[in-house]
Amino acid sequence: MFLNNDVTQNTEMLERHVVQPADPEHPTILSTEDLHVYYGKKEAISEGDLRFASNQITALIGPSGSGKSTFLRSLNRMNDRIATVTGKIMYRGVDINQPAIDVYEMRRRVGMVFQRPNPFAKSIYDNIAFALRLRGVTDKHDLDEIVETSLKQAALWNQVKDDLNKSALALSGGQAQRLCIARAIAVKPDILLLDEPASALDPVSTSQLEDTLLELKQHYSIIIVTHNMQQAGRISEYTAFFNQGRVLEYDTTSQIFTNPQVQITSDYVSGNFG
């Protein structure tokens, strides 16, 4: 990747924080307005204004401590007890960052997969089925069907279909992470947030996971935090570059990687820092 000579040096002057996905086939499904996140008095995120396109993969990249994970975790209010989040998070015309929102119902629409695979200490089947049972899906036939489709969508079905009653803790890292994806999509979310889902996986599992995500975007809108720029380049349509708690640049992935407008972005994607 080569450096662009006429990149803007002064990031304060830059007004291109927000990109509205122009593609009418993929309207905005989630957007943030004037989002600020504080840990105590310390501000972790300022003015993160982003719009996310439906049925596309958006990557959040940036150096460690740039606030990309904090931003992601704010989107389904996982930071509620940890940090103070101000500003609006608009999902289908509703601001979900307000106290009146049923946050549990909201999280079923905006699912999340974490950095380290966290299967529950239950059977593979129950990992997926128990949240559904709690919401009134008790019919054995329905449950079987949801478990099967979720596992198929997460590309895990063929490996575990004979071991559904075995402990999920015995799965390998890559399989466990797929199970977590299956578990997240079983409750039928609109949006899937992934926080560096491949960082604990080996290269083969990572590549399988990426294939799975590319399949999943037909059904879900995906926002993924990644440290791995090749990964962002391989799977995402849009990329947001975070640095020191701010979104410095947000554009189509090809634009970010080939023609970044900010010097720091250019340095980061070309591997000069971060």
């Binding site: 996982m78 999280r107 079923r108 380290r116 966290n118 239950k122 949240a131 803790l169 977590c180």
Partner: protein, 295 residues
């Protein structure tokens, strides 16, 4: 100056020596109790009532009282400890209130049990007029047991990774659902181990009971299970000397001719029961973990 290799050897040797000494002392103690106590054990000894002046008495009633008191004390203290631990670890924010609660628990857990016993005597036996009774004893044991049990359950909850809680919340479960459906099932084996180990402590406790459950063991009619009858084993209002209190009592004022033998036998029973608790804790913990996690 020693070279690092010799230094390491000396260190390892010293540590082995210290560890060996501890094991030796424990084995000697256990061996002495068992060697002097086991010959006294018989079915008659384990089931017959005690005799005050003649030889040939047993510890049947004391043994039964110990178990009954243990169960009552656990029934009262476990729900409270579980609730307190869940609140402290899963809900409470770190502020001065929780710090105060934690400090209070810490202080309570280091309270000498005889102080707990005297408090129980003044409050339950005298003030609340419960008399020397199983109920007074159970309440005193609850005070004795609660701090340690709360801490042990809190520690069990702490062993469950935060990512499990996040996993539950991210599926749209409420905090309560996450605790009851994800965290507790995963923590049950470790909680159970803590409960059984604390049961061992409660079982062997004497000082807290001397002034609350009393030092007499009235005859029981094991065919009468109406808890309102005074001779019924289930009656919680009767005085009830436990095995540990019995040992203390016959050693300080026993006048039966075979007091020494009975004391040795009772000690052996007590030690065996506690050993049994410990092994059961390990076995059940492992079994339950397999069941609940289908591992």
């Amino acid at each position: 100056m020693m070279n690092p290799k010799t230094q390491n050897k000396v260190a390892i040797g010293t540590l082995y020596g210290v560890a060996g000494l501890v094991v030796l002392i424990l084995l000697a103690l256990l061996g002495y109790i068992l060697v002097s106590g086991l010959p006294q054990l018989s079915w008659h000894f384990l089931t017959a009532p005690a005799k005050a002046f003649l030889k040939g008495g047993g510890v049947g009633i004391q043994l039964y009282n110990s178990f009954y008191l243990l169960i009552l004390a656990m029934l009262i203290s476990f729900p409270i400890a579980l609730g307190a631990a869940i609140y402290l670890y899963e809900y409470a924010k770190d502020n001065w209130v929780t710090t105060t609660i934690r400090t209070a628990i810490e202080i309570l857990s280091s309270l000498p049990s005889v102080v707990v016993g005297l408090f129980g005597f003044l409050f339950f036996v005298v003030k609340l007029n419960l008399g020397f009774s199983i109920l007074s004893g159970a309440f005193a044991l609850t005070f004795f047991n609660l701090p340690l049990l709360t801490r042990s359950i809190e520690d069990s909850l702490r062993t469950i990774d935060t990512t499990q809680r996040e996993g539950g919340l991210a599926l749209g479960l409420s905090r309560w659902e996450t605790v009851t459906r994800v965290i507790l099932p995963a923590a049950v084996p470790s909680i159970l181990t803590g409960v059984i180990l604390s049961a061992g402590r409660v079982f062997g406790e004497a000082a807290a009971l001397i002034y609350t459950a009393g030092q007499s063991a009235p005859a029981l009619d094991f065919t009468d299970w109406n808890p309102f009858n005074i001779s019924s084993p289930l009656n919680p209002m009767r005085p009830a000397e436990t095995l540990a209190v019995h040992i203390w009592k016959i050693n300080s004022e026993g006048i039966m001719p075979d007091a020494k033998a009975i004391s040795s036998g009772s000690s052996a029973v007590l030690v065996l029961a506690i050993l049994l608790f410990n092994f059961a804790a390990r076995y059940l913990g492992k079994r339950l973990y397999k069941r609940l996690t289908s591992a």
